[in-house]
């Protein structure tokens, strides 16, 4: 028996969500009294592959010639590596969910996404997940022998748990059904789902040209930027920044909402945030009922002061 984990790479590196998945797999392997085997696709150098050992992967199998964007190819690789694995673990990314759903189908293995709890019992496997766009937490029981889990970002600790790692590189190739025409990567920007701090703004900002101070505040905090639905619908900000019920659900440590009233659909996507700050001119804004800290005030006065204070904190 083993715990299999798909270690998704990004431009040849492992991101935070992959390390969270490795740590989660290590924790799970303790419950099942077994080891962690990780499989990766795409070109990744030895130093990076070895890093997975620092978090508990006993064996790492690398397929440099498999295109990681081709979910079908990656799923067939995982199927051939599955051996006696009882649990297969993924991050909750768009790409990983393609592979997780295909492997779940191939193995007739129950699949749970948006996972927010560890497995505590190896014989009756029940897992908690975010449901109803974070308005509820759902407990799901697996009815199959093998389980496939996609774990929520920012929900599990990355733990150093170094083991002697064995690395194997396999040069297998698979013809791809998809042709990649192009990629537009947000270089140097942290991805919204992984960010520990998120600065978000809404209609209270009045016009798209006023986002300069939001970006400056985000840069000061090393944060990702997000926005409300109306702002994305009006084209002030890209769709990929929209958080809420019909956008992304996120769970950062700190969520700062500026000029967002806090409609139920918006709160649904962000109420898993550990700490929430609302800044709004309207004292009746529903966000003040959901937030941990509130400031009633004009964004154009408060945000520059915040930037200054955060810079002072950083300098000291």
């Amino acid at each position: 028996m083993s715990i299999l984990v798909y270690a998704e790479s990004w431009e040849g590196k492992f991101r935070k969500n992959t390390l969270e998945a490795i740590s989660y797999a290590k924790q799970t392997s303790n419950i099942f009294q077994t080891d962690v085997k990780a499989v990766t696709c795409g070109k990744i150098d030895d130093i990076e592959l070895n890093r997975l050992g620092e978090f508990g992967a006993k064996k790492v199998i690398s397929y440099p010639n498999i295109i990681k964007s081709d979910g079908k190819a990656v799923a067939s690789i995982l199927q051939q590596e599955v051996e006696d694995a009882q649990i297969i673990i993924f991050s909750n990314t768009f790409n990983a969910k393609i592979i997780a759903s295909r492997i779940s189908s191939k193995l007739k293995a129950g699949l749970v996404t948006n996972v927010i709890s560890y497995i505590t019992n190896s014989s009756d496997i029940c897992i908690k997940k975010q449901s109803f766009s974070s308005k509820a937490i759902e407990t799901v029981r697996l009815k199959s022998n093998i389980g496939v889990l996609a774990i929520s970002p920012n929900s599990f600790e990355i733990k150093n748990d170094s083991v002697d790692v064995e690395i194997e590189v396999k040069d297998q190739e698979i013809d791809s059904e998809i042709i990649i025409l192009g990629k537009d990567i947000n270089k140097g920007k942290i991805s919204l789902s992984e960010a520990e701090v998120v600065v978000s703004a809404g209609r209270g900002l009045k016009a798209p040209e006023n986002w300069g101070m939001i970006e400056e505040l985000a840069d000061t905090l090393g944060a990702a930027t997000a926005c409300s639905k109306p702002v994305s619908d009006m084209g002030w900000r890209p769709h990929s920044e929209h958080v809420g019920q019909t956008g992304k659900a996120i769970a950062p440590n700190l969520y700062i909402a500026i000029g967002i009233s806090g409609a139920i659909q918006h709160l649904a996507g962000i109420n898993s945030s550990k700490v929430m700050v609302a800044i709004n001119t309207d004292p009746e804004a529903p966000f003040f009922k959901a937030a941990d800290y509130g400031i009633i005030g004009d964004a154009f006065e408060v945000v520059p002061k915040l930037i200054e204070e955060f810079k002072n904190l950083k300098d000291n």
């Binding site: 964007s69 979910g71 768009f94 790409n95 969910k97 393609i98 759903s101 295909r102 779940s104 189908s105 191939k106 007739k108 129950g110 699949l111 975010q130 449901s131 109803f132 509820a136 937490i137 759902e138 407990t139 799901v140 029981r141 697996l142 009815k143 059904e177 998809i178 990649i180 025409l181 192009g182 990629k183 990567i185 991805s191 789902s193 520990e196 905090l221 619908d233 769709h239 990929s240 929209h242 019920q245 019909t246 700190l254 109420n271 550990k274 700490v275 700050v277 003040f288 009922k289 941990d292 800290y293 400031i295 009633i296 004009d298 408060v302 915040l306 204070e309 955060f310 002072n312 904190l313």
Partner: protein, 249 residues
């Protein structure tokens, strides 16, 4: 060209969520159901392709008779016919398996699902269909053009956008960007009238279809302790609290 749109009937986004039967089931009492918002983008995209390429648009839902008003709405928006698989959707695998059974008997060039449903947020039904039917799958698709034989599409990857070319048949998990919010179609009177006479076929599920997971409990997230209000003249107090009390920066 034949297009299938997979539709999920979900609680309206403004709904307050409650549970029943010792918190083991969703309480549908008093809830208004709507087309899953992600499916709505896909449905509108299908109607636009129908107008451009003379495509035939079928919608399919797995559910009991309570989902039929939402299916009629899809017909009123412009779908040509609707299929309801008479099974209460209880897990992703059984739902995907039933839709796959239908697709195997009735092949389509393009199958559009949402990137997830806004109720159970699984996001895996189209991927399972792709595996069972044996076709490519593009997730989180936010742009698509097709000539009826292949598709060029863009999809969100976590931290960027990828553009792909894939031969049909193909299944996508759609989202905003497939069409814009302002392009979404709402039923007009003529659409509502004609929807009444459009075929809505009910098919029985395959007896061998099984579920792989079961929901056993729902909880509400813990309530916040209350909001500490800070004066806009005292922003430094907020920064201090975030650093020293909440310890999040």
């Amino acid at each position: 060209m034949k297009i299938l749109v997979c539709i999920s009937s979900v609680p309206d986004t403004t709904s307050k969520i409650n549970f029943t039967d010792n918190n083991s089931k969703f309480d549908a009492d008093g809830i208004q159901f709507v087309i899953n918002p992600y499916d709505e983008f896909g449905l509108t995209k299908a109607i636009i392709l129908k107008e451009q390429l003379q495509a035939i648009v079928t919608v399919i839902t797995v559910g009991d008779s309570s989902v039929e008003p939402v299916m009629r709405k899809a017909l009123a928006i412009g779908a040509d016919n609707a299929i309801r698989v008479n099974l209460k959707a209880e897990d992703s695998y059984s739902t995907a398996k039933e839709i796959s059974n239908y697709i195997k008997e009735n092949p389509f060039d393009l199958i559009i699902a949402g990137k997830e449903s806004s109720d159970y947020n699984g996001g895996v039904v189209p991927g399972i269909i792709a595996d069972i039917v044996g076709i490519p799958f593009a997730n989180a698709c936010n742009g698509l053009s097709t000539d009826g034989s292949s598709a060029e599409l863009s999809r969100e990857i976590d931290g960027g956008i990828e553009t792909l070319k894939i031969n049909l048949p193909l299944i996508i998990g759609g989202q905003k960007g497939l069409v814009e919010e302002s392009e979404l179609r709402i039923p007009n009177m003529r659409g509502i009238m004609t929807a009444r006479s459009k075929p809505l076929e009910v098919i029985e599920p395959n007896e061998t279809t099984t579920t792989l997971t079961e929901s056993i409990l729902f909880e509400k997230p813990a309530q916040k302790k209350g909001c500490k209000m800070i004066s806009s003249d005292n922003v430094s107090e907020l920064v201090n609290d975030l650093h020293n009390v909440a310890k999040v920066i």
